[in-house]
């Protein structure tokens, strides 16, 4: 069944490129977006969900996103998939919690979403029921998320900078910047979603736009999240080679290795093609330096 859907879909998408090529690219994009990092509990299984995300608001359990009809997303059409990534809405129009980083994924272009969909649907289905989230009141009231989306996921963002960061809709390249920078911005903000951890949040869980990537005082797994802007207490002295070494091996220039969740993110950054990595580095090195020491 899945195969038939896939074939029909691929013949629609792959007018110029073969289905295998679309799948290969879909795998690449799914990998650098880090879907597996949250949607699986181990390295053996598919993305059957079930892993815990502990936050100040309660414990979230990631859902099954294998193409299983009953327990996964096997019944989803491409439009459902795009709606979920672009607007954070389920096929039944239930709002997702922003632990699912649709703030980032919203910027992915339609064509790339289609490739990701093709890849995810080509994976073997795994039957596993989703666990309900365990959230404290009032965060268990999903309708409140309407306010969250209104404030921190803007359909009418204020200027191009805010659009890249917390706007809804596909990434729009900025003509003043180079192609390399634009590609980097697209990869970092739409796929790698670095800002989800590296940007501090306010008390309502919204990202602070003016402190983009400046590190968070909210530790994850007991580890501090560093400032990765080129500020003095950030990564001002990192060269391109330092960045390259870091993104491919996990070693900082001082040969400290990454730890915690970042170890899994390294899978995604090490998978980047050389060209894409150069773009990512270009964008990250040109971030606005932000210092949080005055806080």
């Amino acid at each position: 069944m899945t195969n038939i859907v896939l074939l029909i879909f691929l013949s629609a998408v792959g007018q110029t490129q073969s289905g295998m090529e679309a799948l290969r690219q879909g795998e690449y994009l799914t990998r650098i977006a880090g879907c597996r990092d949250c949607h699986s509990t181990n390295f053996t299984e598919g993305m059957a969900g079930g892993s815990q995300l502990i936050s100040p608001f309660g414990t979230f359990f990631t859902p099954n996103i294998t193409p299983d009809i009953k327990t996964g997303i096997g019944s989803w059409r491409l439009t459902n998939f795009i709606q979920a990534l672009r607007f954070g809405l389920s096929p039944d129009n239930v709002i997702y919690y922003p632990t699912f980083p649709y703030r980032s994924f919203s910027k992915i272009a339609n064509s790339d979403m289609a490739k990701m969909y093709a890849y995810i649907m080509s994976q073997p289905p795994v039957e596993r029921k989703n666990k309900p989230h365990q959230l404290a009141s009032p965060f268990n009231q999903r309708w409140l998320l309407n306010f969250w989306q209104f404030l921190f996921f803007k359909t009418k963002p204020d200027g191009p900078e805010e659009s890249i960061k917390i706007g809804v809709g596909p990434y729009k390249s900025s003509p003043q910047r180079s192609n390399l920078w634009n590609r980097g911005a697209y990869l970092v903000e739409a796929f790698l979603h670095c800002a989800e951890c590296h940007t501090p949040r306010n008390s309502m869980g919204g990202l602070k736009v003016n402190q983009w990537m400046a590190g968070s005082s909210e530790p994850i797994d007991g580890l501090m999240v560093p400032n990765i802007t080129p500020a003095k207490e950030g990564l001002a002295d990192w060269t391109k080679e330092n960045w390259n070494q870091f993104l491919t091996s996990g070693y900082t220039p001082e040969f400290k290795s990454v730890r915690g969740e970042m170890s899994l993110v390294l899978h995604n950054t090490a998978s980047l093609t050389a060209g894409d990595r150069a773009a990512v580095i270009e964008y990250l090195m040109q971030l606005k330096p932000v210092s949080r020491s005055g806080e």
């Binding site: 491919t248 290795s257 730890r259 390294l266 090490a270 998978s271 093609t273």
Partner: protein, 304 residues
């Protein structure tokens, strides 16, 4: 008496399993420096009364014994089948499992004549190639070295910066060899010699090359499981597709064709925090013992 017996049985059970079907061998093999002089007394005690005969070697002569190590006959007869010394003979009755173990460990270590440190001490320090050659007998020769049971890594063609980093880490006890052998060797090398020795291995493609190790594991379990896990957990760094299967960085080791036992040991060290690298520790902690075995079989079977 009872305590001694207990201790002895623990020792026996800790040793490598010598049964006919090799089971999951996931135990660490912690050995000190082992060389010909360690096993020579065992040969003298149990073998010399019959050998040399016409068909068998003189076990007290290293050069005459070596061919029987290379063709696997020594391991086959003494360690696996236990058909030597002949069952029923007084020698067979008195040869203890510990002593058989000792022979197995000597074979696994590459059947060295002298211990690595002795070789290093006799090498001319002004000649970096000679220093490096004293490493080769353990880290990359043909013959017993290619045994999939081996816990010593093959280093030929390994990434230069990775090798330098490891020697540096051994030197300063950032990485600890359970037998301490590598720490002492690295401590006797200065930084300049470390880079020269590393270069020697990084550039030596003719010998000591990482190469296909397993023979019949391909397309079977646990190779298949290993391949699936490695694709999710390891390959983006250690066998990057865009780089034709080279590691993503010079600081990341190539694993294709590495010894299976070495890979198992290292992953277990990471899992238990005995080898320090927070990234690898995080990943290894998520792997079960069976998964570690599968990954190691997979990499050992992959050819360059």
């Amino acid at each position: 008496m009872k305590r001694e017996f207990l201790l002895f049985s623990v020792l026996i059970s800790c040793g490598p399993n010598t049964g006919e079907h090799k089971p999951l061998n996931l135990e660490f093999r912690v050995t000190g420096a082992i060389d010909f002089s360690t096993v020579k007394p065992v040969f003298a005690k149990y073998c010399a009364s019959c050998h040399p005969s016409r068909s068998a070697p003189n076990w007290l002569e290293y050069s005459l014994a070596l061919p029987y190590v290379s063709n696997g006959l020594l391991r086959q007869r003494v360690v696996i089948e236990r058909s030597m010394p002949p069952p029923g003979s007084p020698q067979a009755e008195s040869l203890t499992d510990r002593e058989r173990n000792l022979i197995a460990q000597w074979i696994n270590a590459g059947a060295p004549l002298t211990s690595p440190r002795q070789r290093l001490e006799s090498a001319d320090r002004s000649d970096s190639d000679m220093v490096a050659e004293s490493c080769v007998s353990c880290h990359g020769t043909a013959g017993p070295q290619t045994s999939s049971n081996n816990y010593i890594p093959k280093l030929g063609g390994q990434n230069l910066k990775y090798l330098e980093r490891q020697l540096h880490d051994y030197k300063w006890f950032e990485r600890i060899d359970p037998s301490n052998e590598m720490n002492q060797i690295a401590a006797s090398l200065d930084e300049k010699m470390i880079s020269k020795v590393s270069e020697y291995f990084a550039n030596s493609n003719s010998m000591a090359k990482l190469g296909r190790d397993g023979t019949d594991t391909y397309l079977q379990e646990p190779y298949q499981t290993g391949s699936r896990i490695a694709d999710n957990a390891c390959n983006s760094c250690h066998m990057n597709r865009q780089l034709n299967g080279r590691p993503s960085s010079e600081f990341v080791p190539a694993l294709r064709g590495q010894s299976e036992q070495y890979l198992i040991n290292q992953l277990l060290y990471f899992k238990r925090g005995l080898r320090k690298n927070p990234l690898m520790e995080t990943i290894a902690k998520r792997l079960t013992r069976e998964e570690i075995k599968a990954i190691s079989v997979y990499y050992a079977s992959e050819s360059q």
